[in-house]
């Protein structure tokens, strides 16, 4: 069985400063990985390297064998567009979703009634939810989520946890960073970056 994502002997630099070395990781379908580490340790840099966005200063072997969904700190939302338009014309171009599917995705993240509102009129947490609605629409098997729990209320965190569990049950895989302690219990595996600091 090939892993959806494999990294061998990866070293990450930011600017001229080496951050991490000798990171090896194999993510198989059905797995949840949490990258654990203090602020500034290089969680986001590693996630960007795994996604393929960062190549400069990244050495080692990284292979992706599945379409991926990357959710960074910035939500990639246009404030002047409505929630529906933002998902319909999302730059990741991953969905051929019909308006009905987008409406039900927005309902899933508890934004029923906000479909036609400009995103600028939503709160930070609600904007985060619009971005998270992609987790319902996207066909990608491999999710790389950078601090997905940020700005979410308790109900939102529960929904996200539930959605991740659903996704891995459908043979998906998730790698995420978070400062929250193991939400997924026995399901998740931790990667402690403090062992890899240069």
């Amino acid at each position: 069985m090939t892993p959806l994502l494999s990294a061998r002997g990866v070293a990450v630099e930011r600017g001229d400063r080496p951050l991490l070395q000798n990171v090896s990781l194999s993510v198989f379908a059905g797995q949840v990985w949490q990258l654990v580490g203090a602020n500034g340790m290089g969680k986001t840099s590693l996630l960007r390297a795994l996604s393929g966005l960062a190549r400069l200063g990244v050495t080692g072997d990284i292979q992706r064998h599945a379409p991926l969904l990357y959710l960074g700190h910035s939500a990639a939302l246009k404030l002047s567009l409505t929630a529906t338009e933002n998902l319909r014309f999302h730059p990741a171009c991953e969905t051929s979703a019909q308006p009905g599917e987008i409406a039900s995705a927005l309902a899933a993240v508890n934004l029923r009634g906000y479909e036609g509102r400009p995103v600028s009129s939503l709160s930070a947490g609600q904007q985060r939810r619009v971005a998270l609605a992609r987790l319902v629409l996207s066909p990608a098997a491999l999710w790389l989520l950078d601090e997905p729990f940020t700005a979410l209320d308790a109900a939102g965190c529960d929904w996200l946890e539930h959605r991740v569990r659903e996704h891995v049950a459908e043979q998906g895989a998730v790698v995420f960073t978070s400062h929250q302690a193991s939400r997924f219990g026995g399901l998740q595996q931790d990667m402690d970056l403090s062992h890899h600091v240069v």
Partner: protein
Amino acid sequence: MSSEGPSVSMFAAFSWQFVRHAKTLINSPADVANPLLFFFMVITLFPLGLGPDPERLAAMAPGILWVVALLASLMVSSKLFASDFEDGSLEQLALAPYPLPILALGEIAAHWLATGGLLSLVSPIFGIMLGLPTQGLATLMFSLLLGSICLTLIGAVGSALTVSIRRGGLLLSLLIIPLNVPVLIFGTAAVNEAVIGGNAVSWLALLGGLALGALALMPIAIGAALRVSLDN
């Protein structure tokens, strides 16, 4: 959970980027009006600076109009990818399962329509303001229409290269003004030729050739430049 490739056609992905950018432009009319206002203001200043002699103005009009069009294009091209870079849209664009040049071209097409395309269409009015002889007006419009395609694509390369740099405006100008020079020369020559009653078609054909060449090659450079800018 499907693991096949993209679920929509490449053209759909292109048109989504076009629509997304067009909608944001429609929602911010000030950004669309800015280059036009700039053009209008500069054009009204020239008769004040040069004196109201209509013949002198008419003789300089082709050059003035083209230089101001070039400056207007320079002014807007720095904004092209700026908001996409800030809000994370560029990251998503780069990770999309389609060629980045095609997706970026969708955005650029919307940007061009709202800036260069619109400016070309209203340019005869500016020509009349400067006393450009009427036989030059149609050529002015067509030369700007073709020329602005080149200017926009060249500007997009500069914008893609400098988008991650704070205050990259000056660097952007240094990078792209030399590349804009041939466009300026051919465009001005076309209008001058039409004004003296000659045949401007050969100049327009040269501009058209430049535009097609830019359409074929620049997106590749834009895609590569965007990836470099996203790399840390």
